[in-house]
Symmetry: C2
């Protein structure tokens, strides 16, 4: 039996998966790209040795990254998606009818090509006429926008290597300057079990830029630590409040999940004060 | 570097851990018992190749197994704990002052001895004068009780091997017969990510016995699938309602967590109808 052993430098548990078939293996300018098949998860997309999505459970991550801020915003029309070359986040954004324009900024064109070929149901929205693809650095693209964007969604790899520039105060400030007064920004921010220091650092950096900052979680089976966090920076609106229903059918996300996915206030305060007690 | 590779026949991800020291390795009448040390999790208790508790994060599991039903019950005085030889569940039960008697039924005395030696802060309540230890089969003990128990808590190993008898209709019926009119029962019931069929089976079996049945979850880093479930059977009381505060300080459990840990009603219905869509 072939096994794939994940290469996550931060994870205190090593995850490994049975591989029944290797469907693709290549190297882009930016990273190693692999697509393998597993009996339980189906096809898996692996970048630089770390699982990004699986056919079976990608919707947990994509729904939770997207629909929380989409539902907290009263009328999202223009959205920037940075990263997420597999297309899953773009697909979820497009399900909201209010959306008129999605700027899809993926630095690595090869990820888009591989995903179109091996994950057609994930990449399904990429060709939509509302989507404008730009293969460039997300930070650079955002710097060029001024107060016309409703939502910015960062769907990057882990906070290492070239993705690091997407977690700096400078980048968060550019995002803030790109947003309308009701604008919001969301990014993954690693696991509360395994990377608590990173979670806190992202929150504190966001707080130095945005008036409203919050944190929510989702249970993701194939991300190290699983108790995965998403960090929100908002110009004024409280992301915990649901302001509209997109009229969409989801598998995991729901208004009930929305109300319960945010960290309880008391736990959030202890987290930021370094007083969680574990 | 020594690594410990978990032997979980049900898990589609194999978990492995760095081992800096092997502190204990032995075989009881029932199972293989190991205690190892890991740089992140500290000491880990392993039974038949599966991680049971770690020094770092045992409280997530013990608090969530215990305090939900303890807080939903108006006045828990007599409690049965079946399994949980490490003592963590007994420790949490004893923190509620209303408790007058804990019947601690662990089939494998060796687990208690090993835990007292290597996990003293987990086993700390075992010597309490309110605790009566019986090293015997939990199912047999419960059969001898009649309507005098407020709560039964099953803290077993995975639902395989000798623990299987703790998940049958016959056992659930004995528990029901042991409970007072406000009585409740809680048991672990595996992961929603990896063992959904088992979760549903436990729920359906409980429904054939108890008038009120429910399901809640917690994010547990060292249990396969992590999105771990707990199944409740209740004589009449809704376990979602908080009826008292024990006045205790917890690390993870809180009234906010209590209100949000139960599966949303709509997702629960889809789960039981086989219509989750994943």
């Amino acid at each position: 039996m072939i096994r794939f052993y994940e290469k996550d430098p931060y994870a205190p548990i090593q995850y490994s998966y049975e591989v029944t078939r290797i469907l693709y293996r290549g190297r882009s300018r930016f990273q190693e790209i692999e697509v393998v098949e597993n009996p339980f998860f189906g096809r898996m997309l692996i970048l630089d040795g770390v699982v990004q999505i699986t056919q079976k459970d990608e919707f947990f991550y994509h729904e939770m990254l997207t629909h929380v801020v989409m539902s907290a915003h009263p009328d999202p029309k223009k959205v920037i998606v940075i990263g997420g070359g597999d297309g899953g986040t773009v697909r979820e954004v497009l399900r909201h009818r209010s959306v008129e324009k999605v700027y899809f900024i993926e630095i690595d064109e090869e990820v888009i090509n591989v995903s179109k070929k091996f994950f057609p149901s994930v990449a399904s929205g990429i060709g939509d006429k509302r989507v404008e693809i730009k293969c460039m650095d997300g930070a650079e693209f955002v710097r060029g926008r001024k107060h016309d964007i409703d939502l910015v969604i960062v769907d990057s790899t882990d906070i290492v290597g070239f993705a690091k520039s997407l977690f700096t105060k400078k980048f968060f400030t550019s995002i803030k300057n790109s947003l309308t007064p009701n604008g919001m920004f969301v990014t993954l921010s690693e696991s509360l079990h395994f990377h608590r220091d990173i979670v806190v650092e992202v929150q504190k950096t966001l707080k130095s830029v945005f008036p409203v900052v919050d944190l929510y979680t989702a249970p993701l089976a194939t991300y190290a630590g699983n108790w995965w966090t998403f960090s929100v920076g908002s110009m004024q609106l409280d992301p915990r409040e649901i302001r509209r229903r997109g009229g969409i059918r989801t598998k995991y996300y729901s208004p009930d999940i929305h109300r319960c996915c945010f960290l309880p206030g008391e736990m959030y305060d202890r987290l930021l004060d370094g007083k969680l007690g574990w």
